[in-house]
Symmetry: D2
Subunit: 306 residues, 4 copies
């Protein structure tokens, strides 16, 4: 039976994502993103489900850096999960009783409006995860009165939902990815995304422009770019790119090869179906058939047939 | 007397940065980055000192988002502060006694090697700041045995340094900025940096390439680019740019005006002396004198003198 | 009374062009393009009308080189003149009598099909201009039986049109320009063209790409680019550019100033109404109002108002 | 025995070029460039030698248009021939006797200074070629007193050189090319040039920029670009490109394939050793080995090996 690690404990949004991405899979909660990925790397799980970015918080640094630097894993699926926060308390508590509320700092930030309005006197305390906060509140004798977490966290830990949808924005989304040990990517579907990391060979002015041109010249549209520090002092960065298309596509293959030639290093992070189902606009001259035709033509002119 | 807010409590790296940037200033510790900036905005302080990015962790999301979206403040100075972590405990404790260590999650991450090697059995707990961790440890009856924080945090709270320089990398640096309410920027020094935020008018493919070309065409070298989510769902980003030169420079002015014309919005974040003292290579044809000369020539040909 | 020199003798297409461009003007035929331009330069005429390019032959090298290198003149108007060739002979001659036909080499080339079909045995001889050929044929005792020239050449020299519209293509067009001594250009009409010549500062790879980017960045569309040798050996070229818009337009002014900054030299050749009456598509952010707005914004942020 | 057609008659610069390019070849003089090319196409000759461009006059329009549009021929060699003009007369004539001088118009233009200075009263008459002018002068009873042509034209036609090196510039050069019927190109030498013609798929703004980017992205430096009218009215052009490298080079192959994909049509005109012997600077990441390595890497990541 398929077993997937995820950012635990039980009741996290990652668990929700895993249940949607792989309903039949056995679930292995991990203490943090690194632990989930390590479980996949070491074979304790067949893969892992972790957050990659959030529409409010941005990229999840640990995930980005793990994918870029540690032993390789490949993204094989993605999911856009709406993030809905609930205020969860032990049975019997009411909103007026809440003096100390605990959650992950990002959740506290995203519910700042609700807290200021409905819990103006409550102290907000940080926890390592929203589910962990719920778990903490559920402990007998916990000093915390309520947690802000996903509703399923409440179900897991026997808490009552005092209020739902308490985020300041109703449209917050987290993008989760499923990761597997290296293997041939899933077949192209016509609506795919490819991810990679590129390290600059040197930080000359224009290096980023050069990289973007490798994509734009082949009609490959970027869907996300994120810089991350290399760690070697301020002012040295590498880049995460997500873009339309599949590594099997000729235009993607040529663009990615071009990056590989001009960069110090490129790490492929996978090609996988897009969660939004969008198909790319394929620009004139950049379809696979165009590359095939051009390739045949080049062979002919190299042979003197013009 | 000049008063500056900073990311407190006393003993943070931000305090160290503030002491270097403005040794004479009165210091106002704030609970978090937003509070420090608000103090500056409301006039409770004359400005604020907060972290902008770290060579391991990357951009400080709260600072980036506050500067982009909340009431404007301008960067008037920057500082690159080497980050050295110490293991701090109450007097009388020894390393062998440490069972529970507390710090900011970023500090725990950056000292992962030391902890695994020297404190293999200790439990690591998260605190909202490194100085807050030290403060916590200093409390009588604290359940925590040691904090990982800056040495000055130990001095503030009466802790003993059991070990110093315990970060996994010895060259970690945090870039701090001093922010002030809007006012004319400091005069150009010949070694300046300018920061701004640009919102795309639409997310067409090539929009980022266009923005970068506005800079490169005028010989303005980027020193940092960071994407941040707009908040409106996954796939919508805005960009922080840092680049060489001063807004008073002709080439910078024209590039920034170009961005302003093609973007939905551009927010200027300030021009200020570079902490590293580097002077830009000014490309042929892009010095102020070249712009002046071209401007005179244009006026002449418009008037029919050729 | 306005006097304009033109590429003579009487009966050239240039005369036709001049009659359309300035019906009231006194006409001064000149021996060649250089002579017509010199007449304008020296004040013997108020201007000159000469061909700039032809839809079959391409650029008229003498005109291009004169405008680029000799004492400056400015283009103040352009005309697209359909080129229709007639076979012209002395009265009494018939097609069967034509043994020797004379014309300008370009006209002979453009009527190659007709000559091969209708005058298969005739010898074709070169003349310095089509009108000169007609003049020659009109001389008593001329060894030539017919000229290929504009119909008006026949009228001038008393020749009979044996056949009309004998060019191999019916849609051939020559672009004529009216040149004047330097003076403020005609006011913008909303459908204008601007011409200039740019000399590269050095022939580094990418210099042309840089020049084109100066235009494209400001949304200025090129309508023609032509390279010409600098004369300093094979492999050294300068460039003629025609593009949409008027030098008074902000986007044109900035693009042209940019060229001036990065090139060894730029010579402005004039802004004038387009013969085809087309108005440019003004790209988002590049209208005069956008430049004005950006300029005001820049002044404000330089002053600290953000 | 190898037979090559050339732009005749005997005594032209083209004959000089042919003698250098193929000393052993039988020479077939042709009436004009088109005739020389046709001789090669029809097999009457094994190839042809014709001028492609001149450092004063620019591109030779007939050659450019024939190569672009008529039945294909490939350039297999090039030669840069210094152009030295001599004043040639029948034996017994002296400079003071010269009243009528005949030559090709380009030669008359290039000797304008000499003629004005030494032959101020002479009438200058056009001939279809410099050698043809010499041939004409040699005819008994010719109305012309002298020709301006290559010295070898004088030797051919029994004329005396009254003056040598009479061009206004001493460094004028004509680039000749040897053309052959389509066949595999000569092997790469490390100092090669490639020529082609590209027709735009549509005349959208930026199409030329796109084409240049196909080259620049692969580190392929252009050595010449020339626009020519398509014939379909003013404002429609196609482009001749000469650039560094051989069609067998990976970077050239990919650039040329890219052009082929985005253009309406591309005609390969040959890869051949450079006359100047210059070797290209091969930019980082664009050598054949870099392309091979990238290609292997792409195959691996497509197969899931990362």
């Amino acid at each position: 039976m398929l077993k997937l690690a995820y950012l635990g404990p039980e009741g996290t949004f990652a668990e929700e994502a895993l249940r949607i991405l792989a309903p039949e899979a056995e679930r292995l909660p991990s203490a943090n993103v690194s632990a989930a990925l390590d479980a996949a790397r070491r074979g304790e799980a067949d893969g892992a489900v972790v957050p990659l970015e959030n529409s409010i918080e941005g990229g999840i640094a640990t995930t980005l850096d793990e994918l870029a630097r540690s032993e390789p894993l490949l993204i094989t699926a993605e999911l856009l999960l709406p993030v809905e926060f609930s205020l969860l308390a032990r049975p019997g508590k009411e909103i007026g009783d809440i003096k100390r509320v605990i959650s992950h700092p990002a959740a506290l930030t995203q519910c700042r409006g609700y807290i200021a309005r409905e819990l103006p006197d409550a102290v907000a305390v940080s926890a390592p995860s929203t589910a962990g906060a719920a778990q903490e509140v559920a402990l007998p004798g916990s000093p915390y009165d309520a947690a802000i977490a996903a509703r399923i966290a409440g179900e897991h830990y026997g808490l009552v939902e005092l209020a739902g949808g308490i985020g300041d924005r109703s449209d917050t989304v987290t993008r989760f990815v499923r990761l597997s040990r290296p293997a041939p990517p899933p077949a192209p579907t016509g609506s795919d995304r490819t991810s990679l990391v590129a390290f600059l060979s040197d930080d000359h002015p224009g290096a980023l422009l050069e990289m973007l041109t490798e994509f734009s010249m082949r009609g490959v549209n970027l869907t996300r770019i994120e810089s991350r520090p290399t760690g070697d002092g301020i002012g040295r960065y590498f880049f995460h790119f997500d873009f339309e298309g599949h590594i099997a596509d000729a235009r993607v293959g040529e663009a990615v090869s071009g990056l590989h030639r001009v960069c110090e290093g490129v790490r492929f992070l996978g090609s996988y179906p897009r969660a939004d189902g969008l198909a790319p606009q394929i620009r004139r001259g950049t379809a696979d058939a165009d590359f095939d035709e051009a390739s045949g033509w080049l062979a002919r002119i190299r042979g003197g047939q013009v």
